[in-house]
C-alpha cells in the first residue's frame, strides 16, 4: 500500500525538445519518503488515472522529487497534463515504488538507455557514483534531443558512451556484451526494439537471467523475443481495473512508449 503524497510543483525546467523536468516538493512541508535508485513516482493526473515517472534525483532523504516527462502526443493525456503544469500547481502523487533496483551485489553494472529511458538509469548512475561502483552507461539519443546529457557527462566522465543513432549504439555495445567480467549486471531501459535487441544479445552470450534487468511494455505486444522475467524487474500485468494498479510494467511501459529514440 503506497501512501498518497500531497505535492506541489516547485520548478519546471525544459530539458530537451518535448521533455520537461518537474521538481515537486511537499505541499505541507512534510518530509518526503526516501527511495532506492530506479524508483518511480505515480502522478495522479485524473481522479482515476495515475502515470508513473522515474525519479531522477538521489533518493536519500530527498528535499524534492524530480521527474522528467516526455510529451507523447498519442498518449491518453497524462504527459500533456504534466507539460501544462506551472510552478505552484498542486499535484497528488503515489509514494515512490522500486521496481528497477540496483543489484547491490553485482561487481559491475552495464547500463543501457535509449531516449527517455535514461531517467531510471540516471538515479542508478548517481548511486554508483556515490558508492564508487564500477559501471558504464551506454546512452542512445536523437541528435540534439538528449535529456540529462550534460549532467551525465559530469557524473560519468569517461564511463558515459553516448551515441546519436541506434546503429552507433549497437556497434559499440554489441561487442561489449560478450566481454563483461563475471558478476556484471545488465540494465536496459528504452524503446521495445532496443530492449529486445539487447536482451537477445545477452541471451546469445549466455548471460545468467538474473543478471539482466530491463523494462518492457506488454501493451505494445510487438515483442518477438521472450525472456523469462527476472525476479524483480518485471511482473505480469494485472487485469485492467480502476484505479489502475501501478505495476512495474506500467512504469516501464511509460519508459518504452514515451521513448522517442
Amino acid at each position: 500500500m503506497s501512501a498518497e503524497l500531497r505535492l506541489a510543483v516547485a520548478e519546471v525546467t525544459p530539458l530537451a525538445r518535448d521533455v520537461r523536468q518537474l521538481t515537486l516538493v511537499p505541499r505541507d512541508g512534510d518530509c518526503l519518503p526516501s527511495y532506492p535508485p530506479g524508483s518511480h513516482l505515480g502522478l495522479r493526473w485524473r481522479a482515476d488515472r495515475v502515470n508513473s515517472y522515474s525519479l531522477t534525483g538521489g533518493g536519500d532523504v530527498p528535499a524534492a522529487y524530480t521527474v522528467s516527462v516526455l510529451r507523447a502526443p498519442g498518449s491518453r493525456g497524462g504527459s500533456a497534463w504534466a507539460h501544462g503544469l506551472r510552478p505552484g500547481d498542486p499535484v497528488d502523487a503515489v509514494a515512490p515504488r522500486s521496481t528497477f533496483p540496483v543489484a547491490a551485489k553485482a561487481r559491475r553494472h552495464l547500463l543501457v538507455a535509449g531516449g527517455i529511458g535514461i531517467t531510471p538509469l540516471l538515479s542508478h548512475v548517481r548511486w554508483h557514483v556515490q558508492w564508487g561502483a564500477d559501471f558504464t552507461l551506454y546512452y542512445a539519443h536523437r541528435p540534439g534531443r538528449a535529456p540529462h546529457l550534460t549532467e551525465l557527462r559530469e557524473l560519468c566522465g569517461g564511463r558515459l558512451r553516448a551515441h546519436e543513432s541506434r546503429d552507433a549504439l549497437w556497434a559499440d555495445l554489441r561487442p561489449a556484451v560478450s566481454c563483461q567480467p563475471l558478476g556484471t549486471q545488465l540494465y536496459v531501459c528504452g524503446p521495445l526494439p532496443m530492449i529486445d535487441a539487447v536482451t537477445a544479445e545477452a541471451r546469445r552470450s549466455h548471460w545468467a537471467e538474473s543478471r539482466v534487468r530491463y523494462g518492457r511494455s506488454s501493451r505494445s505486444g510487438s515483442s518477438t523475443t521472450r525472456w523469462t522475467p527476472p525476479p524483480r524487474g518485471c511482473r505480469k500485468p494485472r487485469r485492467s481495473s480502476r484505479p489502475r494498479p501501478m505495476t512495474n510494467l506500467r512504469i516501464m511501459s511509460i519508459c518504452v512508449s514515451n521513448c522517442s529514440t
Binding site: 553485482a106 560478450s178 566481454c179 567480467p181 558478476g183 549466455h206
Partner: protein
C-alpha cells in the same frame, strides 16, 4: 531438537529423517547433474576424484565452446601455502598448463580464475562437498550467481549398509570414505544395494509436470550425511574450522574448546555447517 539432527550418526536414516532432510539446507546433490549451455566453461576440480566428474560434464558441452580447466589438490590450501608442484594441472584448451604453480592459496587461485571469467561462463566445481561448497562461496563473492555454478560432489562409493564406512579422522577424505544417502529412491532403481528409503511417492501427489520433475529430482538427490570432511561454524566463537564428522555428531571447537553438535543447517556464504553448543549454558 536432538532427534532432528541425530539422523545418521549410526549409519542409517529412517523415512522421517529423510523427509526432514529434504527441508534442510544440507547440500543436495542431483543424481544427474546437467550442463547448461554457456559461452565458455571454467572447470575447477579438487583431487583426482573430481576430475572425471568434471570431464564427464564437459563432454556434454557444445563443440567449439572454450573450456578452461584448473586442478586443485583435495584440500584447501591456506593463503601462504605453496601449491604442490606435483599437482596434476592438465590445462584445457586455454588452460595454464605447464608453468610452475605460484605459491598462492586455493582462495587466491580460484579468485584469479574467476576474475578472468566473462559473463556467460558456467563454472563447474567438482570434488568433495566441503571443498566444492567453499569454492562456490568464493565464486559468489566474485560475482557469480547460482545460475552460473554447476556443483558436483564426489559421489562416495556406494553406502555399504548400516555399518559406517571407514575413513580415519584427520585424513583427507578419499573418495568413498563418506556416506552418501540416496534419498528416497528405491535401491533397485539406482542399482545400489542395501540402501533404504521411504516408500516411493508417499503422500506426495504431484500437481503438474514441473512439480513432478522437481519432486522426482529431490527424491533422487544425494545427501552427504555420514562421516566426511566438513567445515563447522562455531556458534560460540563465530569461527569456522574443519572436522571429520557426521551430521548430528559432536565435535570440539579448536577455538573455544566448546563441544558442538554439527547441525543440519548449512550456510552457503560460510560454506559451513552450523555447530551449536552441545550443552548450552555450560560453556567456559
Amino acid at each position: 531438537m536432538a532427534d532432528a539432527v541425530r539422523v545418521n550418526t549410526h549409519g542409517g536414516l529412517d523415512d522421517a529423517a529423510l523427509d526432514r532432510l529434504r527441508w534442510t539446507s544440507v547440500p543436495r546433490w542431483p543424481a544427474d547433474p546437467a550442463l547448461p549451455p554457456a559461452a565458455s566453461y571454467l572447470a575447477c576440480w579438487f583431487g583426482a576424484a573430481g576430475e572425471p566428474l568434471a570431464r564427464s560434464l564437459l563432454a556434454k558441452a557444445a563443440p567449439g565452446v572454450p573450456v578452461r580447466t584448473e586442478a586443485f589438490a583435495a584440500r584447501w590450501d591456506p593463503p601462504s601455502a605453496d601449491v604442490p608442484r606435483g599437482t596434476p594441472r592438465p590445462g584445457g584448451r586455454t588452460g595454464s598448463g605447464e608453468e610452475a604453480a605460484p605459491p598462492i592459496g586455493t582462495d587466491a587461485r580460484l579468485r584469479a580464475a574467476f576474475d578472468e571469467a566473462r559473463a556467460g561462463v558456467r563454472i563447474i566445481l567438482a570434488g568433495p562437498e566441503s571443498l566444492v561448497m567453499r569454492a562456490a562461496a568464493v565464486a559468489k563473492r566474485c560475482g557469480a550467481t547460482s545460475e552460473e555454478l554447476v556443483l558436483v560432489a564426489v559421489e562416495p562409493a556406494g553406502p555399504a549398509g548400516p555399518a559406517e564406512s571407514t575413513g580415519s579422522a584427520g585424513q583427507v577424505r578419499p573418495a568413498g570414505a563418506a556416506e552418501a544417502i540416496k534419498a528416497a529412491t528405491p535401491p533397485e532403481a539406482r542399482g545400489v544395494p542395501g540402501v533404504t528409503g521411504p516408500p516411493p511417492a508417499a503422500g506426495a501427489p504431484a500437481q503438474g509436470a514441473a512439480l513432478d520433475a522437481a519432486t522426482e529430482a529431490a527424491r533422487r538427490a544425494v545427501y552427504v550425511t555420514g562421516s566426511a570432511e566438513r567445515r563447522v561454524f562455531c556458534a560460540a566463537c563465530r569461527e569456522s574450522f574443519d572436522a571429520f564428522t557426521a551430521l548430528g555428531d559432536v565435535v570440539t571447537c579448536p577455538g573455544c574448546d566448546g563441544r558442538l553438535i554439527v547441525d543440519q543447517r548449512f550456510s552457503r556464504p560460510h560454506a559451513a555447517y552450523f555447530g551449536w553448543p552441545a550443552s548450552p549454558g555450560a560453556r567456559g
